[in-house]
């Protein structure tokens, strides 16, 4: 059977979703950590705050470069279609971008503690979640076989994990280079559920991602003939990469490493396991998004139109 690849979108869309996702995760991490013990966590909070606008900006630039007439991207601000998820998403992404820049500038200049700053963090959190959800909702709104209702869950979990992983990786590498004590435990803070520890953060988010990916795999191939055929084809083409890099490498191994660390009651995760986990999560997130972008554009042969 000769499947069709519509091929409308290339790796630039993946990179937009990947970098946008990192921005979402980095910003949320920065806000979360700033709520508690901001003095001792300042460097991590700052890395998160600076990463967010740069990452989202890179993503947006790549997205704009992919559309047929990049100069007309600005017209999406006034030619609005409320039925279109993308149309609403443009405002969410731009809103998020503005807030992350504002947030980064405030943290860079003075790191204030006032109601205005808290309001900015609240608005930013809303826009971060909305943008993270938008990435998946945008795909599922197009009604393609592999872009199902479960895609938003997979995307937002992957984005948050990738954002945290990127910030933590950067922090660990900077500490290693500057020969500072590498600290990933954040033990002086007191976030509920132990969220002050990266192991716990990763464990919870990766568990959500694992459940959403397994649900997606379970349901996508079983709903109707068209989905089953395309899903089978997708798995035949990319199943090995999907299982090894997304499922095992990007989710299960990091879950095991964090779980072992939690069971041992480790306060600090050593730099090497930290780096390994972060790289695996980042690779897994990128590969998952890229394969879904490719897979979503697979269509049945033209004869299957009845």
């Amino acid at each position: 059977m000769d499947f069709i690849n519509i091929g409308a979108w290339d790796i630039r869309i993946t990179l937009d979703l990947f970098f946008g996702g990192i921005g979402v995760g980095a910003f949320l991490l920065s806000v979360l950590l700033s709520l508690y013990n901001r003095e001792s966590l300042q460097s991590t909070i700052k890395i998160g705050a600076y990463t967010a606008p740069v990452s989202v900006g890179i993503g947006l630039l790549l997205l704009v470069s992919k559309i047929g007439v990049p100069a007309k991207f600005i017209t999406t601000l006034w030619n609005v279609n409320l039925q279109s998820v993308m149309s609403i998403g443009v405002f969410l992404q731009i809103g998020f971008m503005v807030i992350t820049i504002w947030y980064a500038v405030l943290i860079w200049k003075e790191f204030p503690v006032n109601n205005q700053f808290r309001l900015l963090q609240t608005a930013g959190t809303f826009f971060a979640f909305s943008t993270g959800l938008y990435h998946g909702l945008f795909l599922s709104s197009l009604g393609r076989v592999l872009w199902t209702e479960l895609t938003p869950g997979m995307f937002i979990a992957s984005s948050i994990a990738a954002g945290i992983a990127f910030v933590l990786l950067l922090k660990t590498l900077i500490d290693l280079v500057t020969k500072d004590e590498v600290r990933t435990d954040l033990i002086q803070s007191t976030l509920p559920l132990g969220l002050h520890r990266f192991q716990v953060m990763f464990f919870i988010i990766l568990l959500v991602q694992l459940v959403s990916v397994i649900l997606w795999q379970f349901y996508t191939g079983r709903l109707e003939l068209e989905q089953a055929l395309i899903y089978d084809y997708f798995m035949k083409q990319y199943g090995t990469i999907w299982t090894s890099l997304v499922l095992v490498g990007g989710i299960i191994i990091p879950i095991i490493i964090t779980l072992v660390s939690l069971v041992k009651h480790e306060k600090n995760m050593a730099p090497i396991p930290t780096i390994i986990i972060c790289v695996l999560i980042l690779v897994g997130s990128f590969v998952m998004k890229h394969l879904l972008i490719i897979g979503g554009q697979i269509a049945l042969p033209v004869g299957f139109v009845f």
């Binding site: 047929g68 999406t76 279109s84 993308m86 009604g143 393609r144 004869g303 139109v305």
Partner: protein, 231 residues
């Protein structure tokens, strides 16, 4: 106000693809763009084999997914129920192309109707034919020799680079009270165009008298191209 659509009578259709060619000439389509096309399907094992030839075009769906997903309202429904495209608003995001379950939307990667042969200075047969460049220079301000200027009444005569394009059901001809060119040029009268809201129209009568099917009805797009008399 009408609700235009089409019926394709598969008993009459001989599979000549004349509609595909007619569409290309009427709408100035470049070689890799197809607003009207067809699919074929061979089924079974010899000697019990079947063959299907299904002409396809934009279904001008009532519940058009391309209209829903377009972020700039470049895809829209007009007052006559046609699904049309505004090139001025289109940014070329290609969401519509992915949302259309019928693969009826094309994207223009390059400038249309600009080909290498138009730059060739060598004639095909020395002393007998003109070179491509010489022919191109004689186009007299049109993009290519058989350009149809009527197309530009309601849509770009030749569509632009970086945006999508699709069948308009020859809205420029409908404007003049004429049928779409694929309907007129069909040698077997297999295509019937009309207003589904008019109970006396030929399409309404045919739809009432025949068992009809639509493509991918399960997608919920309510396509307005019906097929009758499949055998």
């Amino acid at each position: 106000m009408a609700n235009y659509g089409m019926i394709i009578d598969l008993k009459n259709c001989v599979g000549c693809a004349g509609c595909d060619i007619a569409c290309k000439t009427e709408n100035n389509l470049d070689h890799d763009v197809h607003w009207s096309f067809h699919i074929t399907e061979t089924t079974g094992v010899f000697p019990n084999v079947g063959y299907r030839y299904i002409p396809k075009l934009c279904n001008h769906c009532e519940n058009a997914s391309c209209v829903k997903v377009c972020p700039t309202q470049a895809m829209y429904k007009d007052e006559n129920g046609l699904t049309l495209h505004d090139p001025d608003k289109c940014i070329g995001c290609r969401s519509c192309e992915l949302a259309c379950p019928y693969n009826c939307i094309s994207f223009n990667e390059d400038v249309q109707h600009q080909h290498q042969w138009q730059m060739d200075t060598e004639p095909l047969l020395e002393g007998i034919t003109s070179s491509g460049k010489e022919i191109a220079e004689k186009f007299d301000n049109v993009p290519f020799p058989n350009y149809n200027p009527d197309r530009a009444k309601t849509y770009d005569g030749v569509r632009r680079k970086g945006i999508v394009e699709k069948c308009t059901l020859c809205d420029h001809r409908i404007l003049d009270g004429k049928d779409p060119w694929c309907v007129v040029s069909c040698p077997a009268d297999a295509r019937i165009f009309g207003d589904f809201d008019d109970p006396k129209s030929e399409v309404s009568i045919l739809l009432a008298e025949n068992s009809a099917f639509q493509l991918l009805k399960s997608k919920g797009t309510k396509p307005k191209v019906y097929y009758i008399n499949e055998f």
